[in-house]
Symmetry: C2
Subunit: 407 residues, 2 copies
């Protein structure tokens, strides 16, 4: 059993310096912020410290979304991050920052980091695709296009939620038993699941009809967040032939609050798994483009006892496709990319039985799963961590009970 | 052969009074407008005529999107429309309107009517679903959930285009021959298709977690537009198992410019086809909820001769599901609805061979299609018409050639 990921202070050290949107009693209007250890630094009043950075207009840090800042070149984000690092390096107690710009994390409310015009969820993990196939059909097969390109579906933007927002068990239609052979009912989902995912947040936009090679795609990635793609498996299973999931994925999609930049993650590059199929030129990468992020899910029950906490471990470097490849593939048909767009990995799983990134993967036919689908009141906690000072913190949400149609 | 739909003046009579976003040399900033016959009336300077209408703040008519106006209660849209009708009824030459508020349609540029946060495309036509199945698999079957609820997929918002915008033949990956048994290549789409659709534009928003019955869903529909869901059939066919279409639908989605209100269409209600399966209570409707809109596609070749123009006829009342049912189904999982959201019907087809709403339906195995997929330079023109004075005008786009990856 892998050890639990370290605590928050260790996720947000000097080598991280992520970006998010925060408010507090002293700062009631949400603005851009960063985090160092357990302190949140509001960035809208740091003019003196951030002077002279190319392309940075200070007003972009005073908005309630990161979009205007994220749209700037990554060189500008880098310069802001390095400036903040040099200030903090000199003064770890943050005493030199203007009064009122620093608050403890406990006093702060985090908000959705960006406004998102399009959200795509891809399928990058061979292990997930094979486990899901085995659970659904009894056969460990991959989708026909899986080894050629990241396949995916467009998700719902109106149900993106910041970490901490409860997700309500949805109503929908589904088969009561074997697909195609049992009754169809309308009622509360009985197979509520989570999905452990990582998502790229688009920064610099890409014009319509412009193409992008995977090797250049990170220029358009502002940073990364954890994402829980809550999935109503019974509703999804009924609706998805042949147009893919819709309402089964719409109850809520939870994002972690801090956007961790590519610069912070660059020290954790590693190789992707060997390609078993020739990769088309537009998807070719350097071979060392994967990110080594340790990922974890914990499911915590209302009456928490150690026994009832369920854990799984995974790693983003185990995926067959990187998010840079996903971004390039998304753009190849000419749709462009807009700042704030989210492109996610799909469930990130490993080869071992304690490395399944969602509960459905445990439901293999003829095998005894370690637990069932989610119960009302359970809390799902995703976490991601690279190494000393660089992590994502947590992406948390609690499942609340279904309400009647009339309520 | 059905006669061609009548000309534009007959689409935009006194019983229509649709809403759109227009600009011109005299009105360089796009604002809200309506259309009567071949005149466009700019609504931002009509304060005197629109005084005293409940909930109407005049500034919402001066924005470059209809969203703020659309978000108002339908009673407000109704009052504005009726006020305009009474002004025009008195003065069909529009002489009494302030100088500069009226321009001929030829002097005006139309823009996307709304900003769209989520776009869902449903599958409402039994004939389309069966024809597509026969073309793909040789069997006339329906998707497993088809008779229980409208199934659908989320589409790409960044590639929504106003009528008149060219669509470029996309690049992508696809099988060169029989699915699963031929080589996979990357290159220009060879099976470019259109889809004849109608879409509901959401007006009054619905909060997250709130439900909506189909019988009440029209309260949240601001109006309707024609929609061409351009489809790269080879790219779509390769990618869509099991997550549905993505890049195959992302090159462009064309909208007609004028949002026709439910009030204008109410005179054209008719019965939906008989339900062959019990409808769940949240999807139940009055039985007379379908809209009788004659729909037409024309494909016009660059060197137009009558022989080379290809035409198909359809009708929105032939669909198994209405857009009100689609809207209710979209919301049932708790995702909410935002003003400007689009919910479309999928291809609207009829039972006869000249009533196929897309070219794929003609490609039935073992049969000789009347023509192949779209060629570069061809123009696809959708049109919709109810009766004297009430129509949608046209939704037009020309297919331009693919460009190399590097260009």
């Amino acid at each position: 059993m892998a050890p639990p990921l370290p605590g928050y202070s260790s996720h947000f050290g000097l080598d991280n310096i992520p970006f998010g949107i925060a408010s507090s009693d002293l700062h009631p209007a949400p603005v851009c912020a960063t985090r160092f250890k357990d302190s949140v630094i509001f960035l809208d009043k740091l003019d003196n410290f951030l002077e002279g950075i190319q392309d940075l207009r200070q007003d972009v840090l005073a908005y309630s979304m990161l979009n205007a800042f994220a749209a700037l070149p990554n060189a500008t984000h880098r310069a802001v991050r390095e400036r903040l690092q040099s200030v903090i390096r000199e003064d770890e107690e943050l005493q030199s920052l203007p009064t009122g710009t620093v608050e403890p994390i406990g006093a702060v409310t985090m908000h959705l980091p960006v406004g998102t015009g399009d959200f795509t969820d891809m399928s990058c993990s061979t292990h997930h695709a094979q486990n899901a196939s085995e659970a659904m059909t009894g056969k460990r097969s991959l989708p026909p296009a899986f080894l050629h390109m990241p396949i995916g579906y467009a998700g719902r933007c109106s149900s993106l939620d910041i970490s901490g927002t409860p997700v309500e068990r949805p109503l929908g239609q589904y088969w009561t038993g074997k697909p195609g052979e049992s009754d169809v009912v309308f009622g509360p989902c009985k197979k509520m699941d989570y999905e452990l995912e990582l998502a790229a947040v688009i920064g610099k936009p890409l014009q319509r009809k412009q193409r992008l090679l995977a090797s250049q795609a990170e220029e358009h990635i502002f940073g990364y967040v954890l994402l829980n793609d809550w999935s109503a498996r019974d509703i999804q299973g009924f609706e998805m032939i042949p147009l893919g999931p819709l309402n089964g994925k719409n109850a809520g999609t939870t994002l972690s609050p801090w956007v961790v930049t590519t610069d912070a993650l660059n020290a954790y590059r590693t190789a992707s798994p060997p390609r078993t199929q020739k990769v088309m030129p537009y998807l070719a990468d350097s071979g060392n483009a994967a990110l080594d992020i340790k990922l974890e899910v914990r499911v915590s029950s209302p009456n928490t006892t150690t026994e009832r906490e369920f854990t799984c471990h995974s790693n983003s470097s185990w995926m067959y496709w990187t998010l840079a490849q996903c971004v390039a593939h998304q753009a190849i048909g000419g749709c462009g990319l807009r700042t704030g767009d989210l492109i996610a990995t799909g469930t990130v799983s490993g080869a071992e039985s304690n490395e399944h990134g969602c509960l459905m993967e445990y439901m293999k036919q003829g095998k005894q799963p370690p637990r069932g689908y989610l119960e009302d009141g359970e809390t799902v906690i995703l976490s991601g961590y690279c190494g000393e000072g660089v992590g994502f913190g947590e992406c948390v949400a609690t499942l609340t009970p279904a309400r009647d149609l009339e309520s």
